[in-house]
Structure formats: structure tokens, C-alpha cells
């Protein structure tokens, strides 16, 4: 068995395997670490910085993004100090200036005592916080890589290539599922699935038994290929099986 490393979180001692993400260790110890861009099934990206904790590995205390920080030696962590709360408040402030209407941000703002975005910041009315979860899910989990970041700096946004329909998109809706602000929406209508943000309109399969449309064709094909299933096994919907 791999060696276990001692981690002290808010005074509570636990042992975790080498390379465990610090955020997972914190959660195991029962600490609440807020985050916007982390999902345990996707490689850490460390971009929202809200999961910052104070970490001490013996010499000095530093702020680290706990999602992207692997535990490799004994470490002492604080997850809710004044310094952290101030830093998180500042980050939420900036996010609020970009997206003043997002529920997740308002919840975090309430938690960290941010009333509204700083008056000196100009407000955009974006719904996307650029956490990149959709892009990473599409590439890492779905394997389609149908969407990507465009541009950089203040011009950065998530789009399908050329802001046009991309046949590589299988219309699975995984991007909508992981999005923390729920700004990606899809609906099924007349045998087509529409993912509006990516301009995607995909054909759906009809269930042989009940005759309802139930799954985008491309999803069935992708899963049949990935899992070595017979495409015919998608002929009947999950309700009729």
C-alpha cells in the first residue's frame, strides 16, 4: 500500500495517499472549501482561485489553490482565516462585476460578506464566468472537444469554433450539466436536440417501443464505440427496457 501522509486541516489530523489533491483532503476532514472551477472527475485547472487555503509545509504559510495542489509531504492547512475570507471576497467581487446576475456568485457573496460588486468596477452582464468546466468536460470526459476558449484577456469567451454549429458536438449536454452558472441550456423539440449556445441542432433516436425521441443519435454512436456496445442496444429507451 502506498504511504499515507499526515495532513492537519483546521487542527484536525488525517492521513491521505501521496498526490491527493489538497481540496479532497480538506473535504475529507470536513472543512468547507468553496470552488467554482473544480470537479473531482476532471483535471484541476486552478483558475477560479476561490478554493485557496493557507498551507504550511514547515517554513512559511502560503496561499495555494487547493484543487491544483497535490499533497506530497506533511502539511498544515487553514481553510477559513480572515486573510482567506478577504481574498475570496475580492475574487467574488471581480466575478460579480462580470456576472452580476448569477445565483452561485450571490450565494458566495453572501457567505463572504460581499454586498455587491465594487462601485468602481464597470458591470458587464455576462452569464459565463469562464471557469472552463464545459470545455474541459467536453475534451476529457466526452472526448468530443467541440467547444473551446476564443481570444484572450477581456475578449475571452467560450464558443464553438467560428461561433457556428460544430458536428463534433454530440449534443450530450454534459457541458450544461457541469456549468456552475447554468448558462448552457438545451431542449428537445420535434426530434432534434438544440444546444443554443453552441448553435447545435442534432438528430435524436426514436424508441422502438414507445415511439418517443429519447437520445441524440451521436450520443448513442459515441457510447457504443467507447464502451464496445452494439449500436442496436440503444434502439429502446431506458423507460421501456
Amino acid at each position: 500500500m502506498a504511504e499515507l501522509i499526515k495532513v492537519t486541516i483546521d487542527g484536525k489530523e488525517i492521513r491521505v495517499p501521496y498526490d491527493t489533491p489538497l481540496i479532497e483532503a480538506c473535504r475529507q476532514a470536513g472543512a468547507r472549501v468553496p470552488t467554482l472551477c473544480y470537479n473531482e472527475n476532471i483535471r484541476a485547472y486552478g483558475v477560479c482561485r476561490i478554493c485557496m487555503v493557507e498551507a504550511n509545509e514547515g517554513r512559511r504559510t502560503r496561499l495555494v489553490a487547493s484543487c491544483a495542489y497535490p499533497v506530497r509531504r506533511e502539511i498544515t492547512v487553514q481553510t477559513n482565516t480572515d486573510r482567506l475570507r478577504r481574498n475570496r471576497a475580492m475574487l467574488i467581487n471581480l466575478q460579480l462585476a462580470r456576472c452580476p446576475d448569477e445565483k452561485v456568485l450571490h450565494e458566495l457573496a453572501a457567505e463572504f460578506g460581499v454586498k455587491e460588486a465594487h462601485p468602481r468596477l464597470t458591470r458587464d452582464h455576462e452569464d459565463c464566468i469562464l471557469c472552463g468546466l464545459c470545455v474541459r468536460t467536453c475534451a476529457e470526459v466526452v472526448g468530443a472537444s467541440a467547444i473551446a476558449f476564443e481570444g484572450r484577456g477581456s475578449q475571452r469567451r467560450v464558443v464553438s469554433p467560428f461561433d457556428d454549429e460544430n458536428p463534433a458536438c454530440i449534443a450530450c449536454g454534459a457541458c450544461a450539466f457541469v456549468c456552475p452558472t447554468q448558462c448552457i441550456k438545451f431542449f428537445d423539440e420535434n426530434g432534434k436536440r438544440h444546444v443554443e449556445r453552441w448553435h447545435r441542432v442534432a438528430d435524436m433516436l426514436v424508441c422502438e417501443k414507445c415511439g418517443n425521441y429519447w437520445l441524440p443519435d451521436a450520443v448513442a454512436q459515441t457510447y457504443a464505440r467507447k464502451m464496445g456496445l452494439d449500436p442496436a442496444s440503444f434502439a429502446v429507451c431506458t423507460n421501456c427496457r
Binding site: 467541440a146 473551446a148 464558443v159
Partner: protein
């Protein structure tokens, strides 16, 4: 210029079809077409086995790449800090007036592009403009007019 798969194949052969050469390939393509045609990017993605979204991400990230056709002649005015304090805004104004073009646009007939760049890393030469890839330093209004006139002459205007 129409998109020609054979030309892209020749570029690909130069790098042995290696996907890590994506940026070099895009640079070659930009040099060939003066922009990155959509069909060419789609073709490149197929050949390199790189998702189109990834290529699009790279192509839109760097200012050296353009998805819109650039003019046959290109004038880039450096607006970096050093050039700015030495009068780059005035140079840009003059160039815009002489070319009758707004900054960061291309003439409708595809003749000229006037663009701004944020720093070319040759601050000692400021104010700096790049005329069709050639660096012209220590610019003033007289010199920029001369450069624009030379470009117009090449275009037969």
C-alpha cells in the same frame, strides 16, 4: 486566394505531419493566405487529428493570426508604452487619414490593412511601424506619409 489542399499538404510534409507543429503550420498558412481560411483550418484539423475547437482556440489566441483576410499591404503601428509616449497616437492618426482607414480594419478592395500592435519589442526604435514586415523606426509624420505613398504606388494608386 482560394484554399488549396495541396498547399496545406506541402506545409504538413515540412513538419512530418506532427501535431505539435500546429503553431508553425498556422504561421505558414498566415504567410501564404494573409489570414487563416476556415476551410484550411478544418482540413488541417482532419490531417493532424486535432479537434477543430483546439485549432480555433490557438488561432484566436495569438494576435499574429487573423481569421479575416488581411490586405495585400499591411501597416502595423506599435502602440506600446515606449512608442506611445513618443507619439504613436499621432502616427496612427496620420496613417489612418492617409490610408482613409480606421485602425484595425482592412480596405474593402483588399489593398491595405492598418493595424495596431501592443509592443514589437524594439522600443529603442520607437515610435515604430512595420510596413509589410519591414521595421521602420523613429517615425514622424513626414516619414509615415512617405511610407503610405510608397505602399499606394505599389498598389498603382
Amino acid at each position: 486566394m482560394p484554399f488549396d489542399p495541396q498547399k496545406v499538404d506541402a506545409m504538413l510534409a515540412r513538419y512530418g505531419g506532427d501535431k505539435s507543429a500546429l503553431i508553425q503550420l498556422l504561421q505558414d498558412m498566415q504567410a501564404e493566405y494573409r489570414y487563416l481560411p476556415r476551410e484550411a483550418l478544418e482540413y488541417l484539423g482532419e490531417k493532424l487529428n486535432v479537434p477543430l475547437a483546439t485549432i480555433y482556440h490557438v488561432a484566436t489566441f495569438y494576435k499574429a493570426f487573423s481569421l479575416q483576410a488581411k490586405g495585400r499591404h499591411c501597416l502595423s503601428v506599435c502602440m506600446g508604452t515606449a512608442c506611445h509616449v513618443r507619439g504613436a497616437p499621432m502616427i496612427l492618426d496620420t496613417a489612418a487619414r492617409e490610408l482613409d482607414l480606421a485602425p484595425d480594419t482592412t480596405a474593402k478592395d483588399g489593398s491595405f490593412t492598418l493595424e495596431t500592435v501592443n509592443c514589437l519589442g524594439s522600443c529603442a526604435l520607437g515610435p515604430l511601424v512595420v510596413v509589410d514586415g519591414e521595421y521602420h523606426g523613429h517615425m514622424n509624420n513626414a516619414k509615415i506619409r512617405k511610407d503610405v505613398a510608397a505602399m499606394k504606388k505599389q498598389e498603382g494608386k
